[in-house]
């Protein structure tokens, strides 16, 4: 028995080494497989672009795009009409003295009066506009480039964009948009927040690809 233990102990270090060699071999095999599947790098790109389309569908839904305007006013409601009472952008997207966003929009939804609210309610800067001057949503290609342009998007790279989509209160608001004055619930974006984050992650991991510009 003693002779068996000794031989077992002698083989022990081999196992982790073998494991490492095995892992290395399969990994390199996988890499070899990936590299040898050059046309399938497109699958990753395709996945990324498909994921982007999902992200785009959320960004251009009313709960998000209503504050990403190209004009000097926000929009409201699902038909995205111009916000009532002549509220305007102001120099910092926060309205103007006497008529600030936070004159009405508080830090939480006011369901009893039908006014949505969230932390630091304000318009996205013009550099983050996702519509044209005629209130038409910009194309997927254009919005993608705007969102990934670090000189315009507050210097957010892929991972930071993901975090933004995961955690930013005003982003989260879109999935808890509160009640309208008539008591009905505002419509949600076309994906759940979890799906939106997952799609963002896929897109980011694919290197935030954008569809070809026309």
């Amino acid at each position: 028995m003693l002779s068996n233990c000794r031989s077992f102990i002698r083989t022990l270090p081999i196992i982790p080494v073998a494991a490492v060699i095995w892992i290395a071999l399969t990994a390199s095999a996988a890499i070899e497989v990936r590299e040898s599947r050059k046309p399938n790098a497109d699958t990753n790109l395709d996945n990324g672009l498909a994921a982007w389309q999902k992200v785009y569908s959320v960004l251009t839904s009313p709960r998000c795009i209503n504050c990403h305007t190209a004009t000097n006013y926000p929009q409201q409601a699902d038909d995205r009409h111009r916000h009532f009472a002549n509220v305007i952008r102001g120099p910092e997207g926060k309205g103007v003295p006497g008529l600030n966003c936070i004159s009405c929009h508080q830090s939480a939804n006011a369901d009893s009066t039908g006014v949505p609210g969230g932390n630091n309610w304000h318009l996205a800067p013009l550099s983050m506009r996702w519509q044209d001057a005629n209130d038409r949503p910009l194309s997927s290609a254009v919005v993608c480039r705007a969102v990934t342009n670090r000189s315009k998007n507050n210097n957010l790279g892929g991972p930071a964009l993901l975090k933004h989509h995961e955690e930013e209160p005003l982003v989260l608001w879109a999935w808890n948009p509160g009640r309208r004055p008539d008591g009905s619930m505002r419509t949600l974006p076309p994906l759940s927040h979890a799906e939106f984050v997952a799609a963002t992650r896929t897109w980011v991991e694919a290197g935030t690809p954008c569809p070809p510009a026309k």
Binding site: F84, A85, N86, V87, I88, G90, V96, P97, G98, L99, N100, I102, S103, C104, Q106, S107, A108, A110, D111, S112, T113, G114, V115, G117, P181
Partner: protein
């Protein structure tokens, strides 16, 4: 019903109301301060404008539960502020009011404008006052009074 401690015109006020009650109705019915008016209930007209933490705020849409300890100033006390006094004096001097129902809100908005922009241009006036409704349409004299107040405050 919940109890709230509010800071209204520098005084502590305690009220017991449903948390969803807009600040407007707390002021008007609990505190009997009727200077702030109900015009629409959806923040479209500005008759309900007060200052909360220095920001012009439309009290008809803000539930009292979201106010906290932020100081509230209403039309009844705005004269204590030199800008408020100048605006009210200009309003009287220029004979602005007609029915007068909207004017508490107009004045509170104008004060917010002048505190931030002491020499407002026509565009500043249109933008800052652009959400205050006056059915009598006293807008021509509102413009004049704001400019006059601005001059007085120089």
């Amino acid at each position: 019903m919940e109890t709230y401690q509010l800071n209204v015109n520098g005084q502590r006020k305690q009220v017991k109301v449903d948390p969803s009650t807009p600040l407007l109705w707390v002021l008007r019915e609990e505190l009997k301060m009727t200077g702030t008016k109900y015009g629409c209930g959806i923040s479209a007209c500005g008759a309900c404008t007060v200052h909360v933490d220095g920001i012009a705020t439309r009290s008809c849409v803000v539930p009292v539960s979201l106010i906290g300890d932020r100081p509230i100033v209403t039309i009844e006390a705005i004269a204590a502020d030199p800008v408020g006094r100048a605006v009210q004096d200009a309003w009287v001097d220029k004979d602005v009011v007609q029915c007068g129902y909207c004017q508490s809100g107009q004045i509170m908005s104008a004060v917010a404008l002048l505190k931030a922009t002491p020499r407002p241009t026509d565009t500043n006036i249109e933008e800052s006052m652009g959400g205050n409704l006056c059915r009598c349409a006293t807008y021509v004299r509102i413009r004049e009074a704001i400019k006059s107040a601005s001059q007085q405050l120089k």
